[in-house]
């Protein structure tokens, strides 16, 4: 059954899956799904009631987000007492420049699947200047769980949306979220914690028993158009390089990148290796950097970056995508499509050794080159011009 804005329908009994998607789908990685668990007063039930990329499950485990498929698994029976409403929203990642509002999507879709019910809410978003959209709410009415299509939002993004439901947010960098692992309810006298909505939100990769294995960071891009001039073919393409700065636990520092031919080593220090160098962007697999996760104890931190080796610093034309995958963890995907930053270097993510766990912080900060980026993150290398 298709719902239109304002319409509601019962979802039947039992748990449901709620999947959020957008058309065109290739833009969808820059959308962040969130769910907010509300009490009878329409306010969030504790900060744990805000389920998003930085906190993919609520403390009760009733609402769990699979960030890869943008699917929420909702078990209404497990919701904390007093929670009678769960709101589902999509937010445009404000750090992905070029995406300004939902008007850049043709439509968004919320699909709910229950044991016996399927509800769909397609919403045409052309002309919508909102950057955060409340798609629908799942709510208890006279003992029956229902879904109401909302289709309204905020121009100002996730922050006003969260505030609307009483989530205390700070837009500036704030202390990292407490671990989302189930914790006893905080004493009511404690001041409310602030939830940081910036993408500095670290995601902690819990250490699997068998170690992290092979952590793969992949860079892929399109080379841009090859222009044909009077004097033959001129390649106006772009060459992007992937690399990392490593600080080892013993204080040793090194750089792994194609420039300067420091490709590293997987089995010996620095336990990180760059596989080949795709100079055209035409290789379907792009460039891959491997980090030996089984040797994670030897690392203090790793800064993953990419830079434009050849061609104008036009990230939008390069259409680069960096993905980070570790066995047993959701993939982190970063799309670099900042328009004309004039800066050829981009810090993608920081991996930090946090008591044996890997804390991943998405950065997407642009720099003029290696040196200013190094200064910003305090590695302290000495830089000379290199070639490959």
């Amino acid at each position: 059954m298709d719902l239109q804005s304002g319409q509601n329908a019962p979802v039947g009994t039992g748990a449901v899956r709620v999947t959020l998607s957008a058309d065109p789908a290739n833009q969808a990685p820059s959308l962040d799904p969130s769910a907010i668990l509300l009490g009878a007063d329409g306010r969030v039930k504790g900060d744990g009631g805000f389920v998003f990329y930085g906190q993919p499950r609520d403390p009760s485990g009733a609402v769990v987000l699979d960030p890869v498929t943008a699917t929420f698994h909702v078990d209404q029976a497990r919701l904390p007492s007093g929670v009678g409403r769960v709101v589902f929203a999509l937010t445009i990642d404000s750090e992905v420049a070029g995406l300004r509002s939902f008007s850049q999507f043709r439509s968004v879709l919320l699909a709910l699947d229950g044991s016996a019910t399927s509800l769909r809410y397609p919403l045409v978003t052309s002309g919508m200047s909102e950057t955060a959209l409340i798609l629908a709410e799942l709510y208890l009415r006279n003992g029956v769980w229902k879904l109401r299509a909302v289709g309204q939002g905020f121009v100002g993004g996730l922050a006003p949306l969260a505030r609307n439901y009483g989530v205390d947010v700070s837009e500036k960098a704030a202390p990292p979220l407490p671990s989302p692992s189930p914790a006893p309810a905080p004493p009511s006298a404690a001041p409310p914690k602030r939830i940081d909505l910036t993408k500095r939100q670290p995601v902690s990769l819990e250490k699997p028993a068998q170690g992290f294995g092979k952590i793969a960071i992949n860079l892929n891009w399109s080379s841009g158009e090859k222009k044909k001039g009077w004097f033959g073919t001129k390649n106006a393409g772009i060459d992007l390089d992937l690399g990392c700065m490593i600080e080892m636990a013993d204080g040793g520092k090194t750089v792994v990148q194609a420039l300067g031919n420091t490709f590293g080593d997987f089995d010996r220090p620095p336990f990180a290796k760059l596989l080949g160098d795709d100079r055209t962007g035409e290789s379907t697999s792009g460039e891959t950097l491997l980090i030996n996760g089984d040797r994670w104890a030897a690392f203090r931190r790793v800064l993953i970056y990419t830079f434009i080796y050849e061609g104008v610093p036009n990230w939008a034309a390069a259409d680069a995508v960096v993905s980070l995958s570790a066995p047993g963890s959701p993939q982190l995907v970063v799309r670099l499509d900042e328009h004309a930053t004039g800066k050829g270097m981009c810090a993608i993510a920081m991996l930090e050794n946090d008591g044996g766990c890997i804390r991943v912080t998405k950065l997407v900060d642009y720099f003029a080159g290696h040196e200013p980026m190094d200064r910003a993150f305090g590695f302290g290398f000495r830089w000379v011009a290199g070639r490959k």
Binding site: S5, G6, Q7, N8, E130, R141, V150, G153, G156
Partner: protein, 191 residues
């Protein structure tokens, strides 16, 4: 203690509030909290006879015609946003002034320009109608529409009607498509 009615519920005003003469009819809804075009809701009243039609076009009380010719129903004016506590729009009914050939007074709320703004009642929260004794300030009856609406753009919230010698209130909560215009036509107003 006010009577709280569910959709379809009826109550005798004489029993709920003996001696009630002057009624404050409050209609309310929550304003939009999200960004975008405001919801502009308009309360209206239709004074209808036994035929179910208005006695005359001037017995259609709305933002452009705030008082019935007999002075029995008075609209206190348009609230453009729904902001503020309590009732968003208020009409007064003076029962003693209602002519004998008026069988009922219907209270409706319509969303202004709903089609162009792509708005409906399913997007409006916490709509209600309540009757208050204008002289004592005591609430007599209340009807929270809750979810008795969805994609409608015009709603009959409730009506007061004569039965024999007494006045009763009926919680209607019936929605329609169209706007104030179709609502007016339904009650025989020439628009």
């Amino acid at each position: 203690m006010a009577v709280s009615l569910a959709k379809g519920g009826r109550v005798s005003l004489d029993k709920a509030a003996p001696g009630l003469k002057n009624i404050h009819v409050g209609l309310g809804w929550d304003p939009r909290v999200t960004d975008g075009t405001e919801f502009d809701l308009d309360a209206s009243a239709f004074l209808v006879g036994a035929s179910g039609k208005v006695k005359g076009d001037d017995y259609f009380i709305f933002y452009n015609q705030l008082k019935s010719p007999d002075g029995s129903v008075e609209h206190t004016g348009d609230n453009r946003t729904g902001a503020g506590e309590g009732d968003d729009e208020v009409l007064y009914v003076y029962l003693d002034k209602v002519a004998a050939d008026i069988g009922k007074i219907v209270f409706t709320v319509t969303i202004h320009d709903a089609e162009a703004r792509r708005q409906n009642f399913g997007q409006v929260g916490n709509a209600f109608i309540r009757l208050v004794n204008k002289d004592s300030g005591a609430e007599v009856v209340r009807f929270d529409l809750g979810e008795d609406y969805s994609t409608e753009t015009a709603m009959v919230f409730g009506e007061i009607y004569r039965q024999g010698s007494e006045w009763k209130f009926n919680a209607i909560g019936q929605g329609y498509s169209g706007g104030l215009r179709s609502m007016a036509i339904q009650y025989g107003v020439h628009v």
